[in-house]
């Protein structure tokens, strides 16, 4: 009997490999350590991030799934809800206790019902529809709000960069 966190992560990994959601690949960095995952997220279609493939790291706490994992993009991504250092700021990744932005209700926060798949799908929809009300990257939020064209230009560049072009 291994720890419940490990078992749950293994179960989720199995689920993700058996039924991979569209545009998402995720799995442990190495099979020895299930608490570090790497994920590849495809930019959603019909958005300025279309065609990009963005790598991210997921770090799970020892008490997962009671506490949320941390997610950090390992590539450059100019987006209102992604900190300049790549950390993703979405409500379901916040533990119920803390409220960094001071405006989320606890209903939007982490709960054991969430999963890696749900997190990644939320991130995909976050890429498609940035929320400029609680900006992690204020510059990106401002650009998104005031200069949509410019934002899309920057996004195109990131997409090209992410593909190594």
């Amino acid at each position: 009997m291994a720890g419940s966190a490990l078992k749950r992560l293994m179960a989720e990994y199995k689920q993700l490999t058996l039924n991979p959601p569209e545009g998402i690949i995720a799995g442990p960095v190495d099979e020895e350590n299930f608490f570090e995952w790497e994920a590849l997220i495809m930019g959603p279609q019909d958005t300025c991030f279309e065609g990009g493939v963005f790598p991210a790291r997921l770090t799970f706490p020892p008490d997962y799934p009671l506490s949320p994992p941390k997610m950090k993009f390992s590539c450059e991504l100019f987006h209102p809800n992604i900190y300049p250092d790549g950390r993703v700021c979405i409500s379901i990744l916040h533990a119920p206790g803390d409220d960094p932005m001071g405006y989320e209700t606890s209903a939007e926060r982490w709960s054991p019902v969430q999963s890696v798949e749900k997190i990644l799908l939320s991130v995909v929809s976050m890429l498609a529809e940035p929320n400029d009300e609680s900006a992690a990257n204020v510059d990106a939020a401002k650009t998104w709000r005031d200069d949509r064209k410019g934002f899309e230009e920057i996004a195109k560049v990131t997409v090209r960069k992410s593909l190594g072009l």
């Binding site: 009997m1 291994a2 720890g3 419940s4 966190a5 490990l6 078992k7 749950r8 293994m10 179960a11 989720e12 689920q15 099979e31 020895e32 350590n33 299930f34 608490f35 020892p62 008490d63 799934p65 009671l66 506490s67 119920p96 206790g97 606890s106 209903a107 709960s111 054991p112 019902v113």
Partner: protein, 684 residues
């Protein structure tokens, strides 16, 4: 690569220094003297010693740990920096004792500390690792053994040297090694717990609890040690600046451990008292994967009031953090009373249909609480205060029997046991979460009111089948209610109970007269009813009461009849009350009436309590085919009831009250049933 280069350089330097010295002095002893006299040579030697220590550390590390994982390395380096800073601070306190030996001892301490941290990390990793090899166990055990032994040795040494030579720097070492020894102990406890967990195929639910408690105890020991250390240091030397950070961390860890234990205890208690175990049927039907751990649920599962099912252990660890349903985020602690009622319902597992209304009864009062306060403006105020409550709130049951003629005897008995049951169910939550516990004394009497006020239709709720149910329901040795009630309240309750019984017999006599009068009325009504066919049709759903399970589905018609009945009922009632000589009785129906008229349309439930009287007796006569049977029933029932009560007088007062089933009760119960349905349609 760089470390290799540095090591090589250090070795080369040392060789050069020693070679040079030997070359100059030719002999061993003069060489040693030369090296120790020359500062640059000694510096090189010290550096070489450090290199040896590091090399030794690497060797031991690969012996005990193998390759370090990235996280462990990071952790180690982070902690080492703090430790080095604190060691430098400690040097300032003991600058008088400063010597190579002193530095060597501190280095050794640091060195051992690193191994303690690594051991801690490694044991924590056990829980996360997919496979644990035998090598791991051997390494872990031998490492912990060696570390523990070293700690004890150093503590001993420090102790004796302090005893012999007085307080010195050994004091610091003694305390440091004691702290380290607690670390080893904690690591060992964790190791044992993890090992046991690994051996078993099923998750070991209590592991987390044991861990919490050992964490708490160790935290306490450490806090005590640090406080003692600081006090002694202040007395002997100066304030130990270097101990502040670890001490702060320790105190915080202890506080957290204590908090965790409290939260966990609360969670466990809530789990055990509030939520029912999921039945095998519930588990086998549909999706039986626990959403928390994604494992199948076979046993040991709990069902929340929102019908979501989880593993008990998963749920407990989640409740330690947050008291919401993981799936729907229902605030489970907010509605513990209703939960308790549901829990009881589940545990009773009584298939009898009558029981459900009863349980709804338990629930309703709470749900309707505000409404009831509004609904009984005259009755509530004195009771609501909760002080000096007993007499006022226990009396209503007595007043009401006459109002609702047929069902009186069981009223207070059933009300009492109901109250007990609810007290049992309600006091558990109240004692459970600290927040509500303060309100317990006021809430519990309040709980009782609904029943105290309800008796007219409570007894109906208690059908014959209910009596066996009560023994587990009302009389389980209830330690819980005692928590919520003060001695005084209990005593007054008991005393009043006895008074109740005596008074009840009195009522029974009145009721007999009343019933006789009712029969006359019935005949009159019968003739009227034959002319008004529509009423007969409307009320027809009510009488099936005799089939006891009948009208549960006839909610809408019942309400209609209620409404249409009222004028007549209210008109009829004064007559009854006037037949009864007691002043209280006349009071209560009036209050009833006023409360009913003042209550809004969805409150007929409470209002109905007063109404049941005319309805129960008059209903049957609308239905010609049933009249005969009903009359027979009535007589027989009356006889039986009187018999029963004369028996009861002889017997003890407390217990058997509830156990007499009465068909009248059936009648009323099912009619109430119908009324109640109108509120809770979905429960059936």
């Amino acid at each position: 690569m760089r470390s290799l280069l540095l090591t090589g350089l250090s070795f080369a330097l040392t060789t050069a220094v020693i070679g040079n010295a030997f070359y100059q002095k030719k002999q061993f002893y003069p060489t040693v003297v030369y090296i120790t006299k020359s500062n640059p040579s000694m510096a090189v030697i010290y550096i070489q010693a450090l290199v040896f220590v590091v090399l030794m550390g690497k060797m031991l590390r690969s012996l005990f740990f193998g390759q370090l994982r990235a996280a462990e390395m990071e952790h180690l380096i982070e902690r080492s920096w703090y430790a080095v800073t604190e060691t430098c601070l400690a040097f300032t306190v003991f600058r008088d004792d400063f010597s190579p030996r002193f530095v060597a001892l501190f280095t050794l301490l640091l060195f051992l500390k690193c191994f303690h941290w690594l051991a801690e990390d490694r044991i924590d990793y056990m829980e996360r690792s997919p496979a644990i090899s035998w090598l791991f166990h051997i390494r872990a055990l031998s490492l912990m053994f060696v570390l523990g032994l070293l700690d004890i040795l150093f503590v001993r040494h420090a102790f004796y040297s302090t005893l012999l030579k007085g307080p010195s720097v050994q004091l610091v070492f003694g305390f440091e090694y004691e702290i380290l020894f607690t670390v080893v102990l904690m690591t060992f406890i964790k190791y044992v717990l993890h090992s046991i967990d690994l051996q078993s195929q099923n998750p070991w639910d209590n592991k987390a609890v044991y861990l919490l408690y050992s964490e708490l105890v160790m935290g306490l020991i450490r806090v005590v040690l640090y406080v003692a250390f600081v006090l002694i240091m202040i007395k002997v030397h100066t304030f130990p600046l270097f101990a502040i950070r670890p001490m702060y961390l320790t105190v915080r860890a202890f506080q957290k451990a204590a908090q965790d234990v409290i939260l966990s205890r609360r969670a466990i208690r809530n789990m055990n008292t509030l939520y029912p175990d999921a039945t095998p049927e519930e588990l086998s039907s549909g999706d039986n994967v626990c959403i928390i751990c994604r494992e199948e649920m076979t046993s040991g599962c709990k069902k929340l009031p929102c019908n979501h099912i989880f593993h008990t252990s998963c749920l407990r660890s989640w409740f330690q953090r947050q008291q919401t349903c993981p799936t729907c985020r229902l605030e489970v602690l907010r509605m513990p009373r209703a939960n308790a009622a549901v829990a009881q319902q589940q545990q009773q597992q009584q298939p009898a249909q009558q029981q459900q209304p009863a349980v709804e009864q338990i629930q309703n009062p709470f749900q309707n609480m505000p409404g009831m306060f509004g609904g009984f403006p005259f009755q509530w105020p004195p009771n609501a205060g909760g002080q000096g409550v007993p007499p006022p709130f226990m009396w209503p049951p007595q007043q009401q029997p006459p109002a609702a003629a047929p069902p009186p005897p069981p009223t207070s008995g059933s009300a009492e046991s109901q109250a007990q049951a609810t007290a049992a169910s309600t006091s558990t939550p109240t004692t459970d979460d600290g927040a509500t516990s303060t309100t317990a004394p006021t809430t519990i009497p309040a709980m009782n009111f609904p029943f105290a006020n309800m008796p007219p239709f409570m007894p109906p709720v208690m059908p014959p089948m209910f009596s066996p149910l009560f023994s587990p329901f009302g009389f389980p040795p209830p330690p819980m209610p005692m928590d919520g009630l003060s001695e005084e309240e209990l005593l007054t309750m008991e005393g009043i109970e006895r008074a109740n019984i005596e008074a009840r017999i009195q009522w029974l006599r009145d009721i007999q007269a009343l019933l006789d009068g009712a029969m006359v009325l019935i005949n009159q009504y019968n003739t009227v009813a034959s002319h008004i066919g529509s009423y007969g049709i409307q009320t027809s759903p009510i009488p099936p009461p005799y089939s006891t399970s009948g009208p549960t589905n006839a909610s809408a018609p019942v309400q209609q009849t209620n409404a249409s009945w009222w004028p007549e009922g209210s008109g009829a009632r004064p007559k009854y009350t006037s037949t009864l000589s007691k002043t209280e009785t006349t009071d209560s129906p009036k209050e009833r009436k006023s409360s009913f008229t003042s209550s809004s349309s969805d409150k007929p439930l409470e209002g109905a309590t007063g109404v049941t009287l005319p309805k129960d007796e008059t209903i049957p006569q609308w239905e010609d085919p049933r009249v005969e049977g009903h009359e027979d029933d009535m007589h027989e029932v009356r006889k039986r009831r009187l018999q029963h009560f004369s028996q009861q007088l002889n017997h003890s007062y407390s217990s058997p009250l509830v156990s007499s089933p009465r068909s009248d009760d059936d009648d009323a119960s099912s009619s109430f049933d119908g009324v109640n349905k109108s509120d809770d349609n979905d429960t059936h």
